[in-house]
């Protein structure tokens, strides 16, 4: 499914599209396009990214640079392609048979849509937390240790012991560190061997975050991680996200404007049809949007 594409350097140019059915919209979108400059290196830079599901053109010419060690929020009405864009960043779209991706996404300057990319390596570096919590039907400990075990960083079990390399203690440490990192340690430290499906929804979601931390990623993608949770659990997740930004690059999709305003450093607004309409500092986007449509969306006039 990997369509390797032209890896030209992202020029400071507006994306140019000519062929589309909704020609007017595109014109408008280009007019509204705002350049966003930031200091420091870009973790991701997407250039002219297009995604189709069959004949359905779900993302149009997305060009965006996402800075390192910060929280980037993606907002926009339902069906505008936020999840689709997120899945492009760790190539989870490869798993959707109908999806076709064109364009370029660079992670630390390295193209992830070129031939020979090791998806395992990519996903180790770019972790993801899903909309609804999806812990494995295993113990809490096994959930956290899942990634490192699969990558051979931690060996446990009979064979490992026979070969003289049982990493039980390291695993113990890792589990505690990740659970603390996800602000879950206090709640579950006494029942690490219980089935993770016995946790509450909010706990499950934090477990999924802890599980992603255990792989030691550089980026964490979150797709509406709090949508299924109550306000208290949500605020816990929000605090967590802010903490995570010190070490990780976080890209988070949310439907909740206040949430985006509270936790993100910069915000990208997608509008219907799969267009990136505005991108900039969160404060600027929410206080002084350049585009009328974005203002309407943010103030709740449409969407």
């Amino acid at each position: 499914m990997s369509d390797s594409s032209t890896t030209e350097t992202a020029e400071d140019e507006q994306p140019t599209t000519t062929t589309t059915t909704a020609g007017e919209t595109v014109e408008e979108v280009q007019d509204e396009w705002i350049e966003y400059d930031f200091d420091g290196p870009a973790k991701f830079s997407a250039t002219d990214l297009n995604v189709w599901y069959g004949d359905d053109h779900a993302l149009h010419d997305i060009t965006i640079d996402i800075p390192e060690n910060s929280v980037t929020a993606l907002i926009g009405p339902s069906g505008c392609g936020k999840s689709t864009f997120l899945r492009c960043l760790n190539r989870m779209n490869d798993r959707i048979k109908a999806a076709r991706v064109e364009g370029s996404v660079e992670l630390d300057g390295e193209e992830i849509y070129q031939e020979g990319v090791d998806l395992v390596e990519l996903r180790k570096r770019v972790g993801q937390v899903f909309q609804s919590p999806n812990p494995f039907p295993k113990s809490i400990r096994d959930n956290i240790a899942y990634g490192p075990r699969k990558h051979g960083d931690i060996n446990t079990g009979l064979l490992a012991r026979l070969l003289g390399g049982d990493d039980r203690e390291r695993e113990e440490e890792l589990v505690e560190r990740c659970l603390r990192g996800a602000a879950l340690w206090e709640e579950v430290s006494d029942r690490l061997d219980d089935n993770a499906l016995g946790l509450s929804g909010g706990q499950q979601q934090r477990l999924c975050i802890a599980r992603a931390l255990a792989v030691d990623p550089e980026v964490i993608l979150m797709d509406e991680p709090a949508s299924a949770l109550d306000p208290i659990a949500t605020s816990k997740i929000e605090d967590l996200v802010e903490d995570l930004a010190e070490e990780y690059t976080v890209v988070i999709v949310t439907h909740n404007m206040q949430q985006a305003a509270r936790i993100s450093d910069q915000t990208a607004v997608f509008l219907t049809g799969g267009h990136l309409v505005e991108y900039g500092d969160t404060d600027q986007i929410f206080e002084n949007p350049q585009s009328q449509r974005v203002e309407d969306y943010i103030t709740g006039k449409f969407g």
Partner: protein, 355 residues
């Protein structure tokens, strides 16, 4: 949704008048019908007509109540049929039990099955069933799971959409057709190439049964694998696990109860398979020598093939012994069935019903 009152016969006073009237009338007449059929088959028609009359009247007066009562009786019929099967098999096997005692299941000696001498021991047949089932599952178990994994997790979408229904259709091939192929191809081949002393072998029969159980196992196991939610698999892949690691660590364990149910179903099929073994085996009611010799001339009989090959020449204790063979089969298969339901219930409990 459904209400609870229909299933609870204990709370009769809660039922409305129509239900009570029709229920009483039809229950009495239907019990009489069954009793008449059991005791005086020729007179069955009278209570049956009575039952029809009650139902017809009820339908006219209280349609819903009558429908409910009739459907409840229909539901009860499964229990009645299973009960009757159990009863009749046990009852018919009493004579041979009386004669052989527990020796029916344990007697080992030079002669283990000789209707003329009144010696009936099911040991060779149970052993034959055991061996053919083991061989069949060695063929069908791994191949079945491989087929299910391939169809559900590895094959491209278009291939899956062809393979899945094709496998289900193949599951419908009647066992006598497999028996026929086994008889003319497998038996013939083994006779020719392996210089077997006798036409037929437990090995050949086991392999054919395994092939026969294969599509069923693939189909049921595939359903179980496909039912594992994609979100769970995505969660694993997003952590950098390969698809194979996801399959072994997440998909297969989550589908464990379904996959094991498929295997148990396959074992049940293999145990109860009749026609293929009946036409393929040489019907020697002895124990193989050595016991694991699945190619030799001895021991070529299973519980099912014994019944199918001897019912025509049997009477008295001999026939009773065939029923005893049926009882052994029946109990084994019922145990498997209930066991697999328990496994499934336990798994559902463990998974918390959620995922």
């Amino acid at each position: 949704m459904s209400t609870a009152d229909g299933g609870r016969f204990g709370r009769l006073q809660n039922l409305d008048e129509g239900t009570r009237r029709v229920g009483a009338g039809s229950a009495v007449t239907i019990v009489a019908t069954v009793a008449a059929f059991l005791l005086f088959p020729a007179a069955t028609i009278y209570p049956l007509l009575g039952f029809l009359a009650v139902v017809a009247y009820g339908w006219w007066r209280y349609q819903e109540a009558t429908a409910k009562v009739v459907m409840a009786l229909m539901t009860a019929s499964t229990v009645v049929i299973l009960g009757l099967i159990t009863l009749y098999l046990l009852w018919q096997s009493v004579p041979v039990l009386r004669q052989m005692g527990i020796g029916l299941l344990t007697h080992v000696g030079a002669t283990m099955w000789s209707p003329n001498d009144g010696v009936f021991s099911l040991v060779p047949m149970m052993w034959g069933t055991f061996l053919t089932t083991i061989i069949a599952m060695c063929v069908a178990g791994p191949l079945g799971i491989a087929g299910a994994l391939f169809t559900s997790e590895m094959a491209p979408r278009w291939a899956r959409e062809i393979i899945k229904p094709a496998i289900e259709v193949l599951a419908g091939i009647p066992s006598i057709v497999y028996g026929f192929l086994g008889f003319v191809i497998v038996n013939d081949y083994m006779m020719r190439e392996l210089s077997l002393p006798i036409y037929g072998s437990l090995f050949g029969a086991g392999v054919v049964i395994g092939l026969m159980a294969l599509p069923t196992i693939v189909s049921v196991a595939e359903d179980a694998l496909a039912a594992v939610p994609d979100e769970m698999k995505d969660g694993s892949v997003a952590l950098g696990a390969t698809s194979w690691q996801t399959i072994t660590a997440v998909t297969l364990p989550s589908a464990f109860s379904g996959v094991s149910a498929a295997i148990i179903l396959g074992v049940g099929r293999a145990l109860g398979e009749t026609m293929a073994v009946t036409v393929m085996l040489a019907h020697t009611q002895t124990l193989p020598d050595p016991l694991y010799d699945v190619f030799g001339p001895n021991g070529q009989e299973t519980l099912t093939s014994l019944i199918a090959s001897q019912y025509g020449i049997a009477s008295g204790d001999h026939m009773s012994a065939l029923f005893a063979a049926g009882v052994v089969l029946f109990i084994t298969v019922l145990t498997l069935s209930i066991g697999s339901q328990l496994v499934e219930a336990r798994m559902r409990e463990k998974l918390g019903g959620g995922a």
